[in-house]
């Protein structure tokens, strides 16, 4: 395969047709006689004119250039790139889910509503919360929604709280969501164990604290041992505790954020619940809340009447409103539901146990070759530092590029920011020991190459279709292909 590839538009030649429609067997009428003129095109759509065989070859080749979890190991820390069971795809294609419309009357879509209602309850039970909204379309959307709930709560009590506290290890979406929700973010440094520094937290909370946003286990893969005290400190100041559920794969069936003291949580179904991740979406970021925040939830949620009928419940007068067109990414919610039904509560617990086991195995085997800044026991992901290799002129970026030659998607690099030359690895539970061992061997080989032949690592990759891209020029001089207005 050559790196250059024409766009489908560039392949277009006038007059070529991929599919010929059969003769029309009903009387033809002018579109303008039934469609208002403001909805009619004034010029034809610029659709490419390409033969069917060329369309098929074009998209098949594009698909072969792609790397996904169906191609190989994808240990991107914080992303939980677990295998997506194909039964989810079967279920999502059932006509009762795939061929319905959100504006149908509730009586005609009872199965779909029952699925959503049950999913609401399952996610609430899993996280220890009192009610769930399935509307948010992705993780950061769930964060923003949760923060808007927190804002509505404080405002309803006549309190002006402007600050959201985040640890320095937090995912960048946390301060971003807080800023978009109208808050000012305050960052507190982690202690030398990589956890929230209680003294820093005590100094930061006050009467202007709206919330603390926390991921537990943290982005370093460490469980906040003092979470109960943390919750107490925040609640005593009148603030609420927000749980970023990105790392839920570590604790399902073992611990629940609701029990730790969190007031609002979001989950990433495209992480923990095996819905597609890495392909551009759609995702799903449901938000769970404790009862005092239920009045503010996005409406509608799915309710169940006394006679057992499911309905759209919009009786939430203090709701922050709708946060998504229709009711959320329904097809994704179906896949998550199928996943939960496949595993059940014991199965989900086993998922977390294996995810944590795999991460600890890998950390233990890799620590002699890289540096584990937080040795001991991790949860479902762990961080290494590549700084030992700097002495040979090799950086973590070079290690990541060299891993491409071995057929792997590299782990997360340079995040979290509080580890120098950071490498964050999350294997998930859906990998065999052989896969883990092969990746470990590749990492060990690269560490050895860095010592004995650093140029080999620095000039990688060699076997990929494109080599190192000029990201700097792409960012400085973007070529824009659309016009606005």
């Amino acid at each position: 395969m050559k790196p250059e590839k024409a766009l489908i538009f560039e392949m277009s030649k006038p007059g070529r047709v991929a599919y010929s429609l059969p003769d029309c067997d009903v009387p033809e009428i002018e579109a303008s006689s039934v469609v208002p003129s403001h909805l009619l095109r004034s010029t034809p759509a610029e659709l490419p004119e390409v033969y069917e065989v060329d369309v098929i070859r074009h998209y098949t080749e594009l698909s072969r250039r792609n790397f996904g979890i169906d191609n190989g190991f994808y240990p991107l820390g914080s992303c939980t790139m677990k295998y997506n069971p194909k039964i989810n795809e079967d279920v999502a294609r059932f006509a009762g889910f795939a061929k319905i419309h959100p504006y149908q009357p509730a009586e005609s879509i009872q199965g779909a509503l029952e699925l959503l209602y049950t999913l609401q309850n399952d996610l609430a039970a899993l996280t220890g919360m009192d009610q769930v909204s399935l509307q948010p379309a992705a993780g950061a959307h769930g964060e923003w929604t949760g923060l808007m709930l927190i804002r509505a709560y404080h405002e309803s009590r006549g309190e002006k709280r402007t600050k959201v506290i985040v640890p320095d290890s937090s995912h960048g979406t946390n301060p971003a969501s807080a800023t978009v929700a109208g808050f000012e973010t305050v960052t507190i440094a982690s202690n030398d164990k990589g956890m929230v520094d209680l003294e820093a937290l005590r100094a930061a909370v006050g009467s202007d604290t709206a919330a603390l946003m926390l991921t537990n286990p943290s982005t370093l893969g460490l469980f906040e041992e003092q979470i109960v005290e943390i919750a107490q400190i925040v609640h005593e100041s009148g603030g609420l505790l927000y749980y970023d559920g990105a790392n839920s794969n570590a604790i399902m069936g073992i611990a629940r954020p609701g029990d730790m003291g969190f007031d609002v949580v979001h989950l990433n179904l495209h992480k923990t619940m095996s819905t597609p991740h890495g392909g551009g979406g759609p995702g799903a970021g449901p938000v769970g809340v404790k009862s005092r925040l239920i009045p503010f939830l996005p409406k509608p949620i799915v309710g169940r009447a006394e006679d057992g009928a499911y309905y759209w419940d919009s009786d939430l007068p203090q709701s922050i409103g709708r946060v998504k067109a229709f009711y959320g990414n329904f097809g994704i919610l179906v896949r998550a539901y199928a996943y939960i039904r496949t595993y059940g509560p014991e199965g989900l617990r086993r998922v977390s146990e294996l995810a944590v086991l795999n991460a600890n195995y890998m950390m233990h085997r890799l620590a002699p070759y890289f540096e584990a800044p937080y040795p001991g026991v991790c949860k479902h992901e762990f961080v290494l530092s590549g700084k030992r290799l700097k002495a040979f002129g090799v950086r973590t970026l070079d290690v990541a590029k060299r891993l491409l030659d071995f057929g792997y998607h590299p782990p997360t690099i340079y995040f979290p920011l509080n580890v120098e030359e950071c490498i964050m690895i999350e294997p998930t539970e859906t990998e065999s020991k052989e896969t883990l061992d092969a990746f470990i061997e590749a990492m060990i080989q690269i560490a050895r190459e860095a010592e004995t032949d650093p140029q080999l690592v620095i000039n990688a990759p060699y076997t990929t279709i494109v080599k190192r891209l000029d990201e700097t020029t792409a960012a400085r001089k973007p070529v824009l292909n659309c016009t606005c207005g």
Partner: protein, 129 residues
């Protein structure tokens, strides 16, 4: 080994500051900072005429890897920003103390008083090692 100019003042957030004329202080980021950030792709400047406060964010500086807050080492009013960086942000990497300067701030009171709380070149060198 990053370059540190002996005649400038420095902050712990890796900015440099120097009096240029009257009550105007010119500010940029250090060689150490540009090296840590990597190739600079965009600078978000404060508005000319805006007030800035010592130790507080006045904008941001974006590299391929990350977006970093730009902190003002002094308190005053922004009188000019280095607009050449809009088309050529790479000057921040190539000439962090020269053509890669970022912002000029007019302080109230004397420039000596504004610069006094900052680090000397030697003390800044100590924190970058």
């Amino acid at each position: 080994m990053s370059e540190i100019k002996p005649d400038l003042f420095y902050s712990e957030e890796h900015e440099w500051a120097v009096a240029i004329s009257g009550q105007v202080i010119r500010i940029g980021i250090t060689d150490y900072a540009q090296h840590q950030l990597g190739d600079i792709v965009f600078v978000e400047f404060p508005e000319v005429g805006a007030g800035v406060f010592a130790g507080e964010s006045m904008g941001s500086i974006e590299s391929v890897k990350t977006v970093s807050e730009l902190y003002s080492p002094v308190t005053g009013k922004v009188v000019s920003v280095n607009e050449a960086l809009i088309d050529s942000p790479e000057h921040v990497n190539g000439e962090p103390y020269g053509n890669g300067w970022l912002v000029e701030v007019e302080v109230e009171g004397s420039v000596e008083a504004a610069l006094a709380p900052l680090l000397t070149a030697d003390r800044y060198r100590a924190i970058t090692e």
